[in-house]
Symmetry: C2
Subunit: 271 residues, 2 copies
């Protein structure tokens, strides 16, 4: 028998309820008994840090992550301003008491893997030196479909290779990005102690190609989420299970209260 | 300096000139000095084996591969008829003197990787026992985007794990499916002696989501094909470089003679 997880571990990434501004999301999640949120930077900018900080406190809401920033892999282009942008995110995270900052690698360019790895490791190391000690830096590998357009970091193995080089760096495991990988169980085991985020959603089998904005609700697709959650358990991960659903054609069009209710129901059944 | 490859190594997968029936393709490739073809089973069925065999002989055309068959990974469903279908492909390959048979794994189902690996290895082994000794069996990993819908075999590493278990089995490396993988160079090195096909095309960076039928011509996208070809060289691969372009919106709509001419030009520059 599989141990079920307590709903206290449920977090919601606010992109899941995209129609809600941050203040509505905080009130909405709290109304349904959810007290952990991943905050998007653009939504935070709309509300402003002081108001956000106050509301998060009033509603007893943990900010498990601030998201996203992009660590550049290019050696040309305006690297400095991309790095400065990340430093600004450090400040934002501190101001709202975010526990972690979620980082993507990219955008990509034509460059050899060794070169990209080297550049990324160097920049992540530099960022780690400048990050507040209270802020966990987390790198997230994306699905290989994004390799040419969004991020060239596409496996947990490669993300962990970076962690091997940058002490204190953590990884986020997103089932949508990683469930295809036959090596995933082994890499999650390897990630013990560095697992700093677990994102759930589902892969709609007949999705029509828009894999970026057409994610499914847990249970509506073909990912064996519980199995992956058990691998996370075995690797000692005890933190939040964060629902992150990009869904232009379905969930983003619904009443966010219904979305949150569905997240909670499905969480019990599939996570 | 990189050694250039002789155009004698150019093969064309006939899907690249989809509007041509097999007889037109044989005549067309020969007209442009191309003497190696990968034949699709549906196109072969239209022409019939005896006529195909005769024409291939008359035009001095090598059949580097017959394609595709699907090795089932399911344990339920009609496995027997899927396996029988592959035995029929053995006969077709023999009748037209095909040097290899290209096999995909799938369609996928919800099953653990270890289970899929075990089932696949077992079935590939059984097929190898029944295959004519003159016919090279080749397994091709597809891009992870196909994991839930077409094939769950998505990395060269996993394909080679299968080869480790089935003596004599070969792999095909398709740059479109595999170029995202930071582990590719190492796995190609590992594949030495088992590299039995090298497929080229290009990844259109701004492709709109139809990654199945919107491949680019070499040079029109962002894959460093020559770099991968050099890895193949170093691993001892000396056989054909096969252009395989699925292109519903572009190349399939053009005059196939123009397509073949372009393949040859681009082959010189990018392969």
């Amino acid at each position: 028998m599989t141990a079920l997880v307590s709903v206290e571990r449920l977090a919601i990434n606010q992109i899941t309820t995209k129609p809600w501004a941050l203040d509505n999301a905080i009130r909405g999640y709290a109304r349904h008994g959810v007290h952990a949120v991943a905050v998007w930077r653009d939504k935070l900018a709309e509300l402003g840090q002081p108001a956000a900080r106050r509301m998060l406190g009033d509603y007893g809401m943990r900010v498990v992550a601030l998201t996203p920033v992009r660590v550049p892999v290019a050696t040309d282009g305006d690297v400095q301003s991309a790095m400065d942008e990340i430093l600004r995110a450090f400040d934002e995270a501190t101001e709202i008491g975010a526990e972690s900052l979620l980082m993507l690698a990219g955008p990509p360019m034509t460059m050899s893997p060794e070169k990209m790895k080297g550049v990324l490791a160097e920049r992540l190391y530099a960022l780690k030196q400048r990050a507040p000690s209270s802020l966990q830096l987390v790198i997230e590998p994306l699905h290989p479909i994004y390799a040419a357009t969004v991020s060239p970091l596409n496996t947990l193995r490669d993300a962990l290779d970076l962690c091997d080089q940058v002490e204190g760096l953590g990884v986020a495991v997103d089932v949508y990005n990683l469930s295809w990988d036959w090596d995933l169980e082994r890499q999650i085991e390897r990630a013990a102690g560095r697992l700093k985020g677990f994102h759930v959603s589902d892969w709609l089998r007949e999705t029509t190609g828009d894999i970026r904005y057409d994610r499914g609700m847990m249970g509506d697709g073909c990912i064996d989420i519980r199995r992956i959650r058990e691998w996370m358990d075995r690797a000692g991960y005890r933190d939040t299970i964060e629902v992150e659903i990009f869904s232009q054609n379905n969930w983003w069009r619904r009443d966010p209260d219904e979305v949150v209710r569905t997240c909670i129901e499905r969480f019990h059944i599939y996570c």
